[in-house]
């Protein structure tokens, strides 16, 4: 049996689902960020797999995977800076306890 596009798509769908589960159920902001990273990785697998099997020679998938990795680095840096700032002011990084803007 050959490894085809569907195999990669299945792995990426599962990874995406796991990341989503993490985002929906975690209280800790950093853990939510980890879920987002998993989802971004799943998207990258899809991009590169489509590049390989649907449009070989185009390289658009690689380019966008690289851009996503860059943006993931930005997102992690800004997100973690925000987490640190929140922790300094509120002494918690549980997103369900950060509700001072509500009232």
């Amino acid at each position: 049996m050959q490894v085809g596009l569907n195999h990669y798509l299945a792995v990426s769908a599962l990874l995406f689902g796991l990341g989503l589960y993490g985002i929906l159920t975690r209280r800790n902001a950093v853990a939510i960020l980890m879920g987002i990273e998993l989802m971004l990785n799943a998207a990258n697998i899809n991009l590169v797999a489509f590049n390989r099997y649907v449009a070989p020679g185009a390289l658009a998938g690689h380019v966008f995977a690289l851009i996503i990795i860059t943006l993931a680095a930005c997102e992690a840096a800004v997100g973690l800076a925000l987490v640190l700032a929140v922790y300094r002011n509120l002494e918690t990084i549980h997103v369900d306890e950060i509700n001072v803007m509500k009232w």
Binding site: G61, A65, I67, L71, L80
Partner: protein, 163 residues
């Protein structure tokens, strides 16, 4: 045969630690499990003949983002956070939604007849990717570098302690 074996091993290396990432009560272990997961994805990229993306994946994800996450977990939470409740009350709903979405995605992705094209990628795709960045994708390249700069400055401003 060999490719399939490698794929199965890499898929397991990617998915099993990912389960730990989203379920472990110990946040440092969760962050630690990100690393094998990222490395498994790197292996999948190598199987897909995307060596340059794979190299950048090790460097940025496993080398930088994982360290950043570990760092922030160790600075906040008083360490592992095992004494605290780590999940909210949406566990059931969240699990159902994520499971339903995964099944929908699997069904959709696997049943769509993708127009497969048999072809080969450029042999050394480092130079090819570099060329693509500076020709067809120059706008995306410039914008992402701008975003990088802005987020660098932004992260510094946000994380800096007020004097």
């Amino acid at each position: 045969m060999g490719e399939l074996a490698a794929f199965i091993i890499l898929a397991i290396v990617t998915l099993l630690p990912a389960v730990v990432v989203v379920t472990s009560r110990n946040l440092v272990r969760a962050a630690m499990s990100l690393i094998p997961s990222f490395l498994g994805v790197t292996g999948l990229f190598v199987l897909l003949q995307a060596e340059f993306v794979a190299g950048i994946q090790i460097l940025i994800y496993a080398g930088a983002i994982a360290v950043l996450i570990l760092f922030v977990i160790m600075l906040t939470q008083g360490g592992t956070g095992t004494a605290l409740r780590q999940v909210n009350e949406q566990q059931l709903v969240g699990g159902l939604v994520a499971g339903a979405l995964t099944i929908a995605l699997l069904g959709l992705l696997l049943r769509t007849p993708w127009p497969l094209v048999a072809g080969t990628l450029p042999r050394s795709n480092v130079a090819a990717v570099g060329g693509a960045f500076l020709t067809n994708f120059i706008l995306a390249f410039e914008i992402s570098s701008l975003v990088l700069l802005v987020s660098l400055v932004g992260a510094l401003v946000i994380a800096r302690r007020e004097q």
